[in-house]
Amino acid sequence: MPLAGPDVAAWRARLPAAFGAAPRTRLLRALAAAAFLAWLAWALVHFGVSPQRLWNGLGGLLAILRLMVPPSPGELWLDILQGLAESLAMAFLGTFVAALIAVPLGFLGAGNVVTAVLLRFSIRRLFDGFRGIDQLIWALAYVRAVGLGPLAGVLAIATADIAVLAKLYAEAIENVERRQVEGVAAAGGGWPERLRFGILPQVLPVMLAQALYFFESNTRSAAILGVVGAGGIGLQIAERIRVRHWDEVAFIILLMIAMVAAIDWASARLRRRLIGR
C-alpha cells in the first residue's frame, strides 16, 4: 500500500530529494522555461509569423505545385542530364578529396595517437573553426577565386567536409580497442606499424562508411552550389525557376530524387559489406 500521513512526512524529512527538486531548483527551472517561451514569442512576433501569412503562403505553394503537373523534360533535356552528371561528379570528387585529406588530419587530432596536448588542441580548434563556415560560403569564395564552374564546387565541397570528416575520424580513432594495438606493440611494432596494423584495420571500415554518407548528402547539396555558379544541376534549376517553367523544375527534382535513392541504396549495401554484418 502507498504510505500515508505521518509515515510520508517522516520519509520526506529523511530524504527530501526523493520527493522532488528543492524550491531553489524549481524556481530556476521555472525561470529558464519562462525565458525560453519569451524568446520563442519574440521570434514569432519579430518575423511576423501569423496564421494568415502561413495560409497565404500555402496558397502560393499550391499554385506552384499545380504548375508542376505534369512534369516535362522541356527541350533542353540533354543539358539536364549533363547537369545531373556534373553534380554527381562534383560530389564524388569533393568527398573523395576531403576523405583523403581527413585521414592524416584525423590521426593528428586523435588523443591516443598525438599525445602532445597543445598540438592536438590547436588542430581540434582548427577543425571547429572550419566547420563554422558553410559549403555555400566556400562556393561563393571559390567562384571568385577560380571562376565559374564545377571546379569551384568541388573545392567548396572538399573544404567544407575536411574538417567534419577529420573530427569524425579522430573520434573513431580514439574509440579503437587498445588491446589490439598493444598486441602489435608487443610483437615489436614501432608507431608506424601500430598505426598501420593496430589502428587502421579497426577504423578503416568506419571511415569508408562515413565517407559514403557524406557522398550521399553532398549529391543533394551539390544541387545548391549551381545556383551560385559553382557548376552542376543547380544552374539549370535556377534558370527554369526564373522563367517559371515549373514543370521542368519538377522533372529535374524527380530525377534528383531517383539519383539520390539509387546512391542511398548502393552505399547502404557497400556499408553493410564493409562493416561486415
Binding site: M1, P2, L3, A4, D7, V8, A10, W11, R12, R14, L15, A17, A18, F19
Partner: protein, 274 residues
C-alpha cells in the same frame, strides 16, 4: 485452493512452439496460493519460456492459463496490464532502466496502478504521489538500498540491482512473483541475499513465488515444491525430499555433481554477461 476451489495458477496443456522446437510441451499443473515453487532444468529445458508464458510476454501456441478461475490467456488491453501487475517478473539480467535512478526504477512498479488523470500526470511529469515515493523508500530500506536511492541504476553492483528489481516487483503489490533465474548472474553471497528475500516475501506476505533455478541445492533449500523440466515437459513434480540423487540420474542421465558443475559453468557465463 481458495474457498471457491480455484488454484492461484492452473495450467492446462500449455504448449509453445518456436519453429520446429517445442519449448514448452503440454504442461499441466496447479499451483496453490502461497506456495514457493522451484523449477529446475538444464538450459533449453523451457523454464524461461514457461514463466514468460505466464506473464504473457509470449503467447502460447495452445493450452490455457487460469488464475483463480479466470482465463489469463484471454485477457487483452487493460485487463492484461492488470494481470501483469499482479504477477511481477524478476529477470536474470535484472532488466532495470540503467539511466534512471534507483527510486525511479522502483516506482516503475507503480505504473500499472495509475489510471485516468493520474496516469497522464505520471507519463508527462513523473508525478508519483508522495505516498508512493515513501512506499518505494520503505522497500529500498528493507533491502538495504536506501543510500543508493538517488543513484543511477547502472552504478550498482549486480546483487544490488537484483534487489532493486525485487523492490520494483514488490511495489506492484503482486499476488505472484515469477523469478527467471534471479541468481544466475550473482555471486554466492548475493545469491543468498536474493533467495532469502524471495522466501521472506513468500512467507511474510503470502505472495506465491515461481522461481527458475539451476542449482538443485538452492531449490531444495528454499522451495516447498520442485518441478523438473526436460525438453519442454515436466518430468518431476513433487516435494524437494523426493528429488534425491537417484531420481536426478534417472531424469537427466547425469549425476547430481555433473548437474551442479554444469550449472556453475552457466552461472559463470551469466556473471560475465552481466
Amino acid at each position: 485452493m481458495d474457498a471457491a476451489g480455484y488454484a492461484m495458477l492452473e495450467l492446462q496443456g500449455l504448449t509453445r512452439r518456436f519453429g520446429a522446437t517445442l519449448a514448452v510441451d503440454q504442461v499441466s499443473l496447479a499451483v496453490p496460493a502461497g506456495q514457493m515453487l522451484g523449477i529446475i532444468g538444464r538450459s533449453g529445458a523451457g523454464k524461461s519460456t514457461l514463466l514468460r508464458l505466464l506473464n504473457r510476454l509470449i503467447e502460447p501456441t495452445s493450452g490455457r492459463i487460469l488464475s483463480e478461475g479466470r482465463e489469463v490467456t484471454a485477457l487483452r488491453g487493460r485487463a492484461l496490464r492488470a494481470w501483469r501487475r499482479d504477477c511481477a517478473m524478476v529477470f536474470q539480467q535484472f532488466n532495470l532502466v540503467q539511466r534512471l535512478d534507483v527510486l525511479g526504477n522502483v516506482l516503475i512498479g507503480r505504473l500499472a496502478h495509475q489510471h485516468g488523470l493520474r496516469r497522464a500526470l505520471v507519463l508527462l511529469a513523473g508525478a508519483f504521489t508522495a505516498g508512493e515515493r515513501a512506499m518505494a523508500l520503505a522497500a529500498l530500506e528493507r533491502f538495504g538500498l536506501l543510500e543508493v536511492a538517488l543513484q543511477r541504476a547502472e552504478t550498482l553492483s549486480g546483487g544490488q540491482q537484483q534487489r532493486v528489481a525485487l523492490c520494483r516487483a514488490l511495489l506492484q503489490q503482486p499476488r505472484l512473483i515469477l523469478a527467471d533465474e534471479p541468481i544466475a548472474s550473482l555471486d554466492p553471497a548475493n545469491a543468498r541475499v536474493v533467495m532469502e528475500a524471495l522466501r521472506q516475501v513468500n512467507r511474510e506476505e503470502g505472495i506465491t513465488v515461481l522461481v527458475n533455478l539451476h542449482h538443485l541445492d538452492t531449490a531444495r533449500e528454499y522451495c516447498d515444491r520442485i518441478l523438473a523440466m526436460q525438453a519442454g515437459r515436466v518430468v518431476f513434480d513433487g516435494a524437494p525430499a523426493a528429488l534425491d540423487a537417484a531420481r536426478v540420474r534417472e531424469i537427466y542421465g547425469i549425476s547430481e555433481e555433473e548437474f551442479a558443475a554444469e550449472a556453475a559453468a552457466r552461472a559463470e557465463a551469466g556473471r560475465a554477461a552481466a
